[in-house]
């Protein structure tokens, strides 16, 4: 109990820092030190987990570079069918490691922006780049013509992303927030079919986001097991349910059917399964306690 009391006191102190009661500078500095040392302690405790996640993300982005190279090659060779085939599976490596990829505010949109995102920023189609721009060419216009430069730039951006990943400071906080964010991504854009409006390959992204969240859970699992075995059981069951629902929409060739094939009942069932999973997933934060 004493420990808890002390921590609550600390939280009150540090939250007063957030609202900027700036006239007591020495106290602020002290609580900042306290805050840093607490975070340091947490990170140390979960060093192994953080390291595994870094390795996972690096590996995913290595493969993202390889697959993007193949995709870009097909685009530049004018092979529409080949490019279409490579498009969705390549993107999955990116979607799985989104908590890390997102850390770069400029690169993420250059690779992954939808036309709607660009327009929201008050920009025109000429500022648009990346995967979704080529997606439009492939599915809506049935061509790769005129997209060669976009493809070159895409590969450059993806390589830059891979190089920069080494500089990301991975923390347990990033992992916990990232897992929930991956599911939130699914809830807000994948389940509505707004991510892949030309190719309708949203289920690939969906699956990859879920796999990304599940990876983080897998990494924390041994520690979680010690703290709350029931939570582990619930999460395992809920991942299984969601993956089972997704499996119903596999195309039998290692991929997924078009999002347009899904009925209202299908998307509702998927959406509810994501919510069932998201609530206990947010409780993973007990791992830092």
């Amino acid at each position: 109990m004493n420990q808890i009391v002390r921590n609550v006191g600390f939280l009150l102190l540090s939250s007063s820092l957030l609202v900027g009661c700036g006239d007591n500078a020495s106290q602020d500095t002290e609580s900042q030190k306290a805050s840093e040392s607490t975070e340091q302690a947490q990170t140390n405790k979960l060093d192994k987990e953080v390291q595994s996640y870094k390795e996972f993300a690096s590996d995913q982005l290595d493969q993202f570079v390889v697959e993007t190279e193949a995709f870009v090659e097909a685009v530049k060779a004018g092979d529409v069918e080949k490019a279409k085939e490579l498009y969705a599976p390549a993107r999955m490596y990116f979607e799985r490691s989104e908590p890390i990829a997102e850390s770069f505010g400029d690169l993420d949109p250059r690779i992954d922006a939808r036309l709607a995102d660009v327009k929201e920023e008050g920009q025109g189609e000429e500022q648009w780049s990346g995967y979704h721009k080529i997606e439009k060419g492939l599915w809506e216009e049935g061509t790769t013509k005129g997209y060669e430069e976009v493809a070159d730039q895409l590969l450059k951006d993806v390589k830059e992303l891979r190089a920069k990943v080494e500089t990301v400071e991975v923390t347990p906080d990033l992992m916990i927030t990232g897992a929930v964010d991956l599911l939130n991504e699914v809830s807000t854009s994948k389940i509505t079919g707004e991510e892949e409006i030309y190719s309708h390959t949203d289920l690939y992204d969906f699956k990859a986001n879920v796999e990304g969240a599940e990876k983080i859970f897998e990494i924390f699992k041994p520690k979680l097991q010690e703290k709350d075995a029931q939570l582990v059981k619930t999460l395992e069951e809920n991942f299984k349910t969601l993956n089972g629902l997704l499996a119903k929409h596999e195309d039998g060739k290692g991929g997924f059917v078009s999002f347009e094939k899904l009925t209202k009942e299908d998307t509702k069932a998927l959406s509810e399964a994501v919510d069932h999973l998201g609530e206990p997933l947010s409780q993973m934060a007990i791992v830092v306690e």
Partner: protein, 423 residues
């Protein structure tokens, strides 16, 4: 903040008003949190017994012979939700209701549903939008629908009362599947719509995986005050709704009309009641171009006073046989005449709703969330059948939603919602 104050936050149930007081002391927001909501779901045994806090402001008691929110007078706002049950076993369902029992007492005390934790990486255990608001006469009422008993995995088939069956199709029904049925219902009533919503939101959140949301409807009532007494509320047709209700303070009448008596149904329902929910669209545009005399002839009452036609007091005897120039004063096709010619009675507790604009017609999407309580569904069925095709009100309304639920008896201290059904 001194040590004593810190301790009191962690050890006591925390009222939502205290949250602000404490925050004031700390100079900023206090972290609320819960360690393992899912853990709580399966570990009710470890949860402490939570009692009604009689000192809480604007508080309705949770524990008692009957559930709250049935005889509780003059509700102002409702959030009614119908749920699908996805629990895989009776044990899971029972644990959910045990957790809901604890949460309900806290919510009706004006407390946060989960106490504080120190881990700021966790989402808060209480969603927080009722912070600073008191209990606001919140009542929570729970019921189960016929479809719940058909789920083999729950093993409740033999517990289903005969009369707990989907309501029959009535003449002129135009039911929208989006507003029909349900395995479980929660009726949350409060003086404040945000308090009612907060209650349902937190109950559903804590039960994710055990339930999914099927349909919901909000509603409101406003009360004219006379001599500090709330008068019968008006529906959106401007007529008083509920004048003919039996007196909720008359225990004998309530036992005759509302509460299931021993031997009248399955024993788990003794002290419980049946809730009928109907979402009734009211065609305000056509009503508003109808002459006042015609409107009054439709209901069988005077609009402003609520009195039976030809009389002056709201509670004057209806005297259906009265005639003038050989014609009945209260038309035989009027809503009240058709209702009163049946012997059955029920306790109505309805709310108006306003849900924006119907995209197909450009008209108001507004009407009545009709809720009634009776010890047997046939009381409602007989009255509704009496309206049949003759009711003059049919021209102005359409029934769009329908559901029937059996509401548990009240919860004894130390027990939980539905204990008689699940144990």
């Amino acid at each position: 903040m001194n040590n004593q104050e810190e301790k009191s936050i962690l050890q006591k149930e925390v009222s939502r008003r205290d949250v602000l007081k404490i925050a004031g002391i700390g100079g900023a927001g206090v972290i609320l949190g819960a360690s393992g909501l899912t853990g709580a779901l399966t570990a009710f045994g470890a949860n402490p017994f939570i009692d009604d806090d009689q000192t809480a402001a604007n508080k309705v008691k949770f524990y008692g012979k009957h559930q709250p929110g049935i005889l509780t007078k003059s509700p102002e706002h409702v959030y009614f939700v119908s749920l699908n049950c996805t629990a895989k076993s009776k044990k899971e369902l029972k644990e959910m209701f045990q957790l809901w029992t604890n949460y309900s007492v806290r919510l009706m005390n004006g407390q946060v549903v989960e106490p504080y934790t120190e881990n700021k990486l966790l989402p808060a255990g209480d969603t927080g939008e009722a912070t600073g608001l008191d209990a606001s006469h919140l009542t929570l009422t729970f019921g189960v629908g016929p479809s719940l008993f058909e789920k083999k995995e729950l093993g409740l088939q033999h517990m289903k009362p005969k009369e707990l069956a989907d309501l029959p199709h009535f003449p002129k029904d135009q039911l929208d599947p989006n507003y029909v049925g349900g395995d479980i219902c929660i009726q949350a009533c409060a003086d404040d719509p945000q308090v009612a919503f907060h209650a349902v939101r937190n109950l559903v959140r804590a039960a994710r995986g055990k339930v999914t949301m099927r349909w919901s409807q909000t509603g409101f009532n406003s009360y004219e005050m006379k001599k500090k007494k709330k008068q019968t509320p008006r529906n959106l047709f401007a007529f008083k709704d509920g004048s003919g209700n039996p007196n909720v303070d008359d225990a004998k009448a309530m036992n005759e009309v509302v509460w299931v008596q021993p031997g009248e149904s399955k024993s788990w329902l003794t002290g419980g009641t049946y809730l009928v929910a109907r979402r009734i669209q009211m065609h305000l545009e056509t009503w508003d171009r109808t002459a006042l005399t015609e409107q009054e002839a439709t209901f069988g009452r005077h609009r402003d006073s609520g009195a039976p036609l030809g009389k002056t007091g709201e509670f004057d005897d209806m005297e259906l046989d009265r005639k003038e120039n050989g014609q009945p004063v209260v038309p035989v096709t009027s809503h009240v005449h058709l209702a009163k010619q049946v012997k059955d009675r029920m306790l109505r507790r309805s709310f108006s709703y306003s849900d924006g604009i119907n995209p197909n017609t450009g008209a108001f999407d507004a009407g009545l969330l009709f809720l009634s309580f009776q010890k047997h569904p046939k009381q409602f069925i007989n009255i509704q059948n009496s309206f049949g095709r003759t009711d003059k009100l049919n021209e102005y309304i359409t029934h769009r939603g329908s559901a029937l639920f059996a509401c548990f008896p009240g919860v004894k201290k130390g027990s939980y919602l539905g204990a008689e059904l699940f144990s």
